[in-house]
């Protein structure tokens, strides 16, 4: 079949053809960008945390009135938690990956007297069991040694930072930024004026709020927190399926240690993570819905206009059939017509999609639209156009040649 007669017949319906092209172009631009945004959000939601997510539970407590020996009470609490059946580890730490409620970050420098820190990273406080309980994997170096740990009360009691030094474990990405291509274990970095020796490298540990900067720049300090000083209990269970039962037993165990405290929050870590990404998940849902509805609306527009054309050309089609055109040829006429319109719309839409992406890059700090999205959108819209035109085209093909002999 020749394309030429189709193009000349389209020329007779310039306005309607232009409208279809415009609609496809707009839909293409919006859907292309929406798909890209969906992809970005899915990547965000799937970001790894570097900890044993499914096996962890969190409990936050607060004392009522002044707490005299929160450090000792914390040791009691942890012992009680470890005694709960199903618990394989219990620890106290200051923050968690993907945690909306608080985050502490610090600047880390390569020299003691640097004006601007080399980078900012999340500062995690660890006790003897934190690394094992959280399931943080060390890829180089070692865990902290027993004599490297300090109680937070000791740290707070220190007058000034004179002579202070310590050990730290940093994530692999942070080590690479600090010492590109070099061995980081054994090197010294500075936390303010305090020299810290890197003793180990963790494979990964996400920051509480990845939007603070590089999402996996984190370091651990061997400081034992207590529950009343920003500390939160983390419990690792042996069987994730029994999480809820273990959590209830753990809360009961803490209340048995001291009933005069408030349990502020208790949940599975996965719930904390889900809460952190709830907006992203909602945007995924919303963008998907809008994209689908947009495609449906566009399809209806094509059905409407194509039906109109078929009706208008009934006699013409009858004549062609009488002159020997087969049903398949009539069907193909409308399909090719639609393919031409859709393709024109797609070309225009690609340009629009890029313009839209440029605009969003400026306003929402989004990355550039990857080229891979273009063929996806093209195939999607071609398929949509062909599906939408099928019904009007079949009706056209069904027109009998006898129509040609009938007077209007």
């Amino acid at each position: 079949m020749h394309v030429h007669p189709i193009v000349s017949s389209l020329r007779r319906h310039r306005t309607a053809a232009l409208l279809i092209v415009l609609e496809i172009a707009l839909t293409c631009a919006i859907v292309c960008n929406a798909l890209f945004l969906i992809g970005e959000r899915i990547d965000a939601v799937r970001r790894p945390s570097g900890i044993a997510e499914r096996e962890l539970l969190q409990i936050r407590l607060s004392g009522i009135g002044p707490q005299t020996d929160a450090g000792a009470r914390t040791r009691e609490d942890l012992a009680a938690l470890r005694a709960v059946p199903g618990v394989v580890g219990a620890t106290v730490t200051n923050q968690l990956p993907f945690y909306r409620f608080s985050s502490s970050n610090s600047g880390v420098s390569l020299t003691a007297d640097q004006a601007q820190p080399t980078l900012h990273a999340a500062r995690y406080h660890a006790d003897e069991t934190t690394i094992a309980t959280l399931g943080i994997r060390l890829v180089a170096g070692r865990d902290f040694l027993p004599d490297e740990y300090m109680d937070v009360a000791e740290v707070e009691a220190l007058d000034g930072s004179e002579g202070m030094r310590g050990a730290t474990i940093v994530t692999a990405s942070m080590a690479e930024r600090l010492f590109p291509g070099e061995q980081a274990v054994g090197r010294t970095v500075y936390f303010g004026p305090i020299p810290l020796t890197i003793v180990g490298i963790a494979e990964s540990l996400a920051r509480p709020s990845p939007s603070d900067g590089e999402g996996t720049f984190s370091f651990l300090l061997p400081i034992r927190l207590h529950y009343n000083n920003g500390g939160t209990y983390l419990i690792r269970v042996s069987d994730p399926a029994r999480r809820d039962a273990v959590l209830a037993a753990a809360v009961a165990a803490l209340e048995a240690v001291d009933p005069d405290r408030l349990i502020l929050a208790h949940s599975a870590y996965e719930a904390i993570r889900a809460d952190y990404f709830r907006n992203d998940r909602e945007m995924i849902g919303l963008l998907s819905t809008v994209s689908i509805v947009l495609l449906v609306v566009t399809a209806f527009g094509i059905v409407g206009l194509a039906s109109f054309w078929v009706q208008q050309r009934t006699r013409q089609i009858g004549v062609r059939r009488a002159l020997g055109a087969t049903r398949a040829q009539i069907l193909r006429h409308f399909q090719i017509e639609n393919f031409l319109l859709t393709s024109t719309g797609i070309v225009l839409g690609m340009a629009l999609a890029y313009a839209l992406n440029q605009l969003m890059m400026g306003r929402y700090e989004l990355p550039r639209l990857p080229l891979a999205y273009l063929p996806v959108c093209t195939v999607l819209l071609w398929a949509l156009g062909q599906a939408a035109v099928l019904w009007p085209a079949l009706r056209a093909a069904a027109i009998s040649p006898a129509i040609a002999t009938r007077a209007a």
């Binding site: 306005t15 309607a16 409208l19 279809i20 415009l22 609609e23 707009l26 839909t27 631009a29 919006i30 929406a34 945004l37 607060s62 009522i64 009135g65 002044p66 004006a115 601007q116 707070e156 220190l158 000034g160 930072s161 936390f191 303010g192 004026p193 305090i194 408030l262 502020l264 809460d275 709830r278 907006n279 909602e282 945007m283 919303l286 963008l287 809008v290 509805v293 947009l294 609306v297 566009t298 209806f300 527009g301 409407g304 206009l305 039906s307 109109f308 009706q311 208008q312 969003m360 306003r363 929402y364 209007a408």
Partner: protein
């Protein structure tokens, strides 16, 4: 004539039910999506303290070291305790207030209610008059209470209901973190949204139920909430100490007119220069004085996702509009014969045009009505979401009016091209081809 056109329009709808339904639905979807996102945007970008928002100003100084100075960069959004207390002592504005968020465990006087954690605000005496806080019983505390670290508190209505069954509790006591505070006032429901005076502690859902003097909270070493930024070379053990190099306090002033605002800004610059001369500040004077709406705009209180949704909905409406133009065009041109006859019988082009516009306007009104229903459904869906502003998503009168304007403008815009095209139909040609 208009009535006749309406009858014609309705008759034509009956003839092309599916096509008409499709147009109405398309427009309704576009309008519904637009109104839902516009309403959310409207609610989030609203004025939290109308009538006074241009007289309340947020104050910023720049106490950070010279080493990290970037000329023209924004100073920290909060003040150090030293600076906040100094400005408060100077009293250069009509009213001024320093504050921070906090929280603590509340125990009832008689122990009838189990202790619970409550969000609080540590502030100074002018807070209540400055932000037009409505009182149910009693009043705020005085500057003497601030100076004397008075053991006083103002509680919110819900807390009053919870602790005292709604009775006038002025003069009674509430225990906060183990210390008894005397209640001097109970405030009525009051919830400016967004919580412009402190955007760090829940912008749309952070309600505080207990207010106490800042000095008292410091004296009692109560826990604070919000953000704190320490910038000294050495790690600080107590970021809330008077001389700690940490910013964590919000500072607001009330000024009567632009002239007073200019004078206050000059005073801030002068204060910075003095601090620099004294060796406390290192940078050149870098102050900001922003009114409520400027402050909200600067802090981008409307979430980026909401703006994105608004653009998405507008794009969606545009596609719906183009679609409706196409369908209307198909519909009108299909009736070419009918229009030809009318033209031959003496109808002016204008009449044909008006009739077409009436018909598309009718589609628009139907689409608008359905769109309104969809917008209500959309807002209901927004309210089911766990976001902090969800509960605020309601259609108000202005938005209702806008829906109809949008529906009418959209559909008439959609009808223009088809109407113009049908007006061009030559009577003779159409009759001949029949």
């Amino acid at each position: 004539m208009l009535g006749y056109y309406l009858t014609l329009a309705l008759r034509s709808f009956r003839r092309n039910r599916v096509l008409t339904a499709l147009m109405v639905l398309t427009l309704a979807l576009g309008i519904g999506a637009c109104m839902t996102t516009l309403t959310v945007f409207h609610v989030l970008s609203g004025d939290p303290i109308p009538g006074k928002s241009d007289r309340l100003f947020h104050v910023q100084l720049d106490p950070e070291p010279l080493a990290t100075y970037v000329p023209g960069a924004e100073p920290d959004s909060q003040l150090t305790r030293f600076d906040a207390e100094a400005l408060l002592r100077d009293r250069h504005a009509t009213r001024q207030v320093m504050m921070t968020g906090g929280g603590g465990i509340i125990e009832a006087e008689d122990g009838a209610v189990r202790p619970f954690l409550e969000s609080m605000r540590y502030t100074s005496a002018d807070f209540f008059a400055m932000f037009d806080v409505p009182f149910l019983h009693g009043q705020g505390w005085t500057a003497q209470d601030d100076a004397g670290r008075g053991r006083v508190a103002v509680i919110g209505r819900t807390l009053n209901d919870k602790l005292f069954g709604g009775a006038d509790s002025v003069g009674r006591q509430v225990r906060v973190d183990g210390t008894a505070l005397r209640i001097v006032g109970v405030i009525d429901d009051w919830l400016p949204r967004p919580k412009f005076y402190d955007l760090n502690t829940g912008r749309f859902d952070g309600q505080e139920h207990l207010f106490l003097p800042f000095s008292t909270a410091i004296d009692l070493k109560m826990g604070t909430s919000g953000s704190s930024n320490c910038f000294g070379g050495a790690p600080t053990n107590d970021s809330r100490a008077l001389n700690a190099p940490c910013t964590w306090i919000q500072y607001w002033v009330e000024l009567e007119d632009p002239a007073q605002a200019d004078a206050f800004k000059a005073y801030l610059a002068n204060y910075s220069a003095q601090q620099k001369a004294a060796g406390r500040f290192e940078r050149p004077a870098n102050v900001r004085l922003r009114s409520v709406m400027d402050w909200l705009d600067h802090r981008k209180v409307v979430p980026g996702d909401v703006r994105l949704q608004l653009w998405l909905a507008l794009g969606f409406l545009l596609v719906c509009l183009v679609n409706t133009v196409g369908l209307l065009l198909a519909k009108f041109l299909r009736r070419g014969g009918e229009i030809g006859v009318r033209r031959a019988l003496g109808a002016a082009r204008r009449d044909v045009f008006v009739q077409a516009i009436v018909e598309s306007g009718t589609v628009g009104i139907a689409g608008g009505l359905l769109g309104l229903g969809l917008a209500q459904a959309g807002l209901w869906a927004v309210r089911q979401r766990p976001t902090d502003y969800a509960a605020l998503a309601h259609l108000d009168g202005a938005m209702l009016l806008l829906t109809f304007v949008l529906a009418l403008v959209t559909s008439i815009a959609a009808g223009l091209l088809p109407a113009w095209r049908s007006m061009q139909i030559a009577p003779a040609l159409q009759l001949k081809s029949q």
